[in-house]
């Protein structure tokens, strides 16, 4: 999701990650809620140029 950040500090910036805190687990499984964000993140993992844990210190 791409959005423009305004100067208004009270502004909230919603992501495409649904809040599933109050959604019962069976309902999540049945509805596929959160699947969009999940698919994006998992796809990103699988196509990632940088290995998952390649961010190591250089001191």
């Amino acid at each position: 999701m791409v959005m423009t950040v305004a100067d208004d500090q009270a502004v909230e910036f919603p992501s495409d990650l649904e809040d599933l805190h109050l959604t019962p687990l069976p309902e999540i499984a049945e509805s596929g809620a959160g699947a969009d964000a999940l698919a994006r993140i998992l796809a990103e993992e699988s196509s990632r140029h940088v290995p998952v844990a390649a961010f190591n210190s250089s001191i």
């Binding site: 305004a6 809620a33 698919a39 290995p51």
Partner: protein
């Protein structure tokens, strides 16, 4: 920095430059570019051989496992069966032993007969056919020069391909949209040919020659396509439709399957019958000469043509779009549409697509249709502008970190549900595994209902996500089932049981004892001697806090402890119960995780269970490191206290090199090989927690064009880095530079060394911020994020350091 070439993987070979039809919507012959007139009619075999050699050279250089070659025209069948066979032999000969060749042909079909099909079968050439729908739709444009219909010949060709004998060669159908045709009649007619795939092509157009639309229908092409999408979607998507699939994929952040949609860099090049490289056929609609590159297979490699400005323009993703597109919320799906469709005399390609209203309407429609119907409406995670400002500056207070953690918890709930759902559908798991999975899920759902806060605490354990991602990766790998094992899926029951014990609920679960031990996340691990690889433990918990474990004929009895959560066994055996252990300091308590089987997801191997003495050394080191952070780095302290939950000890690196790591899948955890110096531990924690924060931000927002495959110079490494690696490194080094700045300004005994480190890292970080900012691939939010980092680092460049500390330019 000049970026590396995006390798070509798709090659369109013009094997014949003339056509036997005279379609009045053809972009090859009816467009501004008339380059076909100067081309030889047929590609010579020697030219095809040279093409094959160039592709082989390219595939070797870029280690491509597979390339796709489409024999095209004009009408490629006009080349004749003999020449097509020679071309196929030339290509396969050059690429033998180099890479796999996916050889295709795209034809109007009118000449396709048994002879051609036998040739295709012999040379492994799969065929796609152009047809615009039913007879009336097709004959609206696809006619012979005299006006005669081509419909019967095309259908005969399709029937030949879809028959049993040649079905394996049938790729699908390509349909050019005409608003005069009834979309559903077109769709039904195409579907009746039983194609494996359908692609819809909007007529090529530019701002100079916009597509005709009826008055009052500004998005008529979207309306036409949406009618088909709704029929297709509502009937269970009976055929692969590339355009719709690409919209769905791009709205999920995946790559597009067509140049018409998305930001995926183009990896396609056209080779004309004379061996000349051209950019894309669609450019013929812009102006005469537009597709030309001036390069050819005889004098130039594909890498050379890859540096051509026109080719690079189609590979530059977000950075290649006009401002209007870059600011559009749909840009990651639309990608500005087909490059040629952006053209306008005067401004060139720096415009939205002439199909912008149609793309917008279609993407919004498909995006809304595919959303799960039961998804909660209007609730999504967010960060406030204040949160974002704090995080972009490199810091982030408790509120900001708390919001990142909340988003991670939703993600984990979705992951748990996805693992259950996909494993339940697995055909390769045994019945017992399905029964245990179902029981574990029921218990999890029960705990979720009765003690949601407790379950949330267990699910927040960093390696729950690592486990879930591991399982989903396996379940997705080899079709249904994958090769995830019953023992691995057993972690779900372990999560549920750990939460039930902590919540003091009556519960029982059968948990696989992988590796001869029972692991209960956030509680600890019980060694079960004498159990085999397929053994399991029956764990029973009561509302009174009593816990029993039955495995291998032995029973263990324990009592649940509340704070910190744990178990106290009545009959402790030497080393059998390995409780979760914690490191504490004023204002913080974190787990020292040295038992979880999924903790070993960092680049460096995890250490084994720490001895009591080693635990003591960790406690001493952490206490001192935290004291340093609390006093010298207060801007980081609050965020760390709110978000750092776990340290995983890493095995010491050879030569006692200081190593540490963060994993995207393990929010809240940092892995470290314990350094002797607490100050180094403080630095490693600061550094790695930057990655933890940024990973969670990237789970919520796009800060950059994820399809940008370019590599950039990172001042801290010898090898060039992808954009995400550069962003992660830059963000981490904001904290590293700040660490050394404070050490230098403190004027302690290590001030001289600190000055040198500070000078090095402020310069490196400032440089990489500018590399990011000028990459052209940051989203508006990403640009804003880079501005935030710059605002933190820029004043540091004015801090005076001894001349000897200033790094020598590389």
């Amino acid at each position: 920095m000049d970026h590396l070439v995006v390798p070509f993987r798709q090659f369109v070979l013009k094997v014949h430059s003339r056509c036997d039809l005279a379609c009045d919507h053809c972009y090859v012959y009816r467009s501004a570019d008339q380059g076909w007139r100067a081309q030889p009619a047929v590609m010579a075999t020697a030219t095809a051989d040279r093409v094959g050699a160039r592709i082989a050279e390219h595939a070797r250089a870029h280690r491509l496992p597979r390339v796709h070659v489409v024999l095209h025209g004009g009408e490629p069948l006009l080349a004749g069966a003999a020449r097509l066979g020679q071309i196929a032999v030339a290509l396969r000969g050059q690429l033998a032993g180099v890479c796999e060749l996916d050889l295709r042909i795209h034809t109007n079909g009118v000449l396709l007969d048994e002879t051609f099909c036998q040739l295709f079968d012999a040379h492994g050439i799969r065929a796609g056919i152009s047809i615009d729908g039913d007879r009336a739709a097709n004959d609206r444009h696809r006619r012979y020069a005299g006006g005669r219909s081509s419909y019967d010949q095309v259908v005969r060709a399709i029937d030949l391909l879809r028959g049993d004998r040649y079905r394996h060669l049938y790729l699908g159908l390509l349909c050019t949209v005409d608003l005069a045709n009834d979309p559903l009649a077109v769709y039904d007619a195409l579907l009746a040919h039983d194609p494996p795939r359908i692609d819809f092509l909007t007529p090529h157009a530019t701002w100079d020659n916009p597509p005709a639309r009826p008055p009052g229908a500004p998005a008529a092409y979207a309306d036409w396509l949406i009618a088909i999408f709704d029929r297709w979607n509502g009937s269970g998507r009976p055929v692969d439709i590339r355009l719709f699939d690409s919209v769905i994929r791009t709205t999920r952040g995946q790559g597009s399957r067509t140049e018409a949609i998305g930001l995926t860099p183009s990896d396609l090049i056209v080779i004309e019958t004379d061996g000349g490289y051209e950019q894309a056929d669609s450019l013929k609609v812009t102006y005469h000469g537009a597709p030309a590159t001036g390069y050819d297979v005889f004098g130039h490699s594909l890498d050379e043509v890859g540096h051509h400005q026109g080719i690079r323009a189609r590979q530059s993703g977000l950075g290649g779009l006009c401002d209007q597109c870059r600011r559009c919320p749909l840009v990651t799906s639309c990608g500005g549409g087909l490059y040629a469709h952006r053209y306008r005399s005067g401004t060139g390609f720096s415009n939205p697509s002439v199909y912008c209203p149609d793309l917008t309407k279609m993407i919004k429609h498909i995006g809304s249709e595919r959303r799960p119907p039961a998804a909660p409406a209007g609730r999504s995670h967010s960060l406030s502008a204040t949160d974002l400002a704090e995080l972009a500056a490199g810091y982030g207070g408790a509120a900001a970190i708390g919001r990142l953690a909340q988003a991670q918890r939703s993600l984990r709930r979705a992951l748990l549900a996805a693992v259950y759902q996909r494993a339940s559908a697995s055909a390769s798991l045994e019945r017992r595994a399905h029964e245990r999975l179902s029981a574990a899920w029921d218990l999890l759902a029960d705990v979720d209902q009765r003690a949601p806060q407790v379950l949330e605490s267990v699910v927040a354990h960093p390696y729950v996500r690592a486990w879930a991602a591991y399982c989903l990766g396996r379940l997705d790998t080899d079709g249904p089932g994958g090769d995830v094992t019953e023992a691995e899926l057993g972690y779900l029951a372990a999560i549920a049981m750990a939460a039930a014990i902590r919540a003091r609920l009556d519960a029982q679960a059968e948990i696989p004892a992988a590796g001869g031990s029972l692991h209960l996340p956030t509680l600890g691990q019980l060694a079960l001697p004498g159990t085999g690889p397929r053994s399991s433990a029956t764990v029973t918990a009561t509302s009174g806090g009593a816990v029993t474990v039955l495995a291998g004929g032995e029973q263990w009895r324990a009592v649940a402890l509340e704070s910190p959560p744990g178990l106290r066994f009545e009959r402790p055996r030497d080393g059998s119960w390995r409780p979760a252990r914690y490191l504490t300091a004023p204002g913080i308590s974190i787990a020292l995780e040295d038992a979880d089987p999924y903790r070993d997801c960092h680049q460096w191997p995890a250490a084994d269970r720490c001895s009591g003495a080693e635990l003591g050394r960790w406690q001493q080191g952490f206490g001192a490191a935290w004291s340093l952070i609390a006093t010298e780095y207060p801007a980081y302290r609050e965020g760390l206290a709110a978000g750092l939950t776990t340290i995983v000890p890493l095995a010491p690196a050879p030569g006692d090199r200081e190593i540490s790591s963060a994993a995207r899948q393990a929010f809240g955890a940092v892995a470290v090989a314990r350094p002797a110096d607490p100050a180094v531990l403080a630095l490693l924690l600061l550094h790695e927690f930057q990655h933890v924060k940024l990973g969670a931000i990237l789970d919520m927002y796009d800060l950059f064009d994820r399809t940008d495959g370019r590599l950039f110079r990172a001042p801290w490494r010898d090898d060039p880095r992808p954009l995400e690696g550069l962003l992660q490194g830059t963000y981490a080094h904001v904290a590293v530079a700040e660490f050394w700045r404070a050490r230098y300004l403190a004027d302690g005994p290590d001030a001289a060394a600190a000055a040198s480190h500070f000078a090095r890292w402020r310069a490196a970080t400032a440089e990489s911020i500018e590399t990011l900012a000028s990459s052209g691939s940051l989203t508006p939010m990403g640009q804003w994020f880079a501005d935030g980092m710059r605002a933190t680092v820029a004043p540091w460049l004015d801090v005076q350091v001894p001349v000897s500390a200033v790094p020598v330019p590389r």
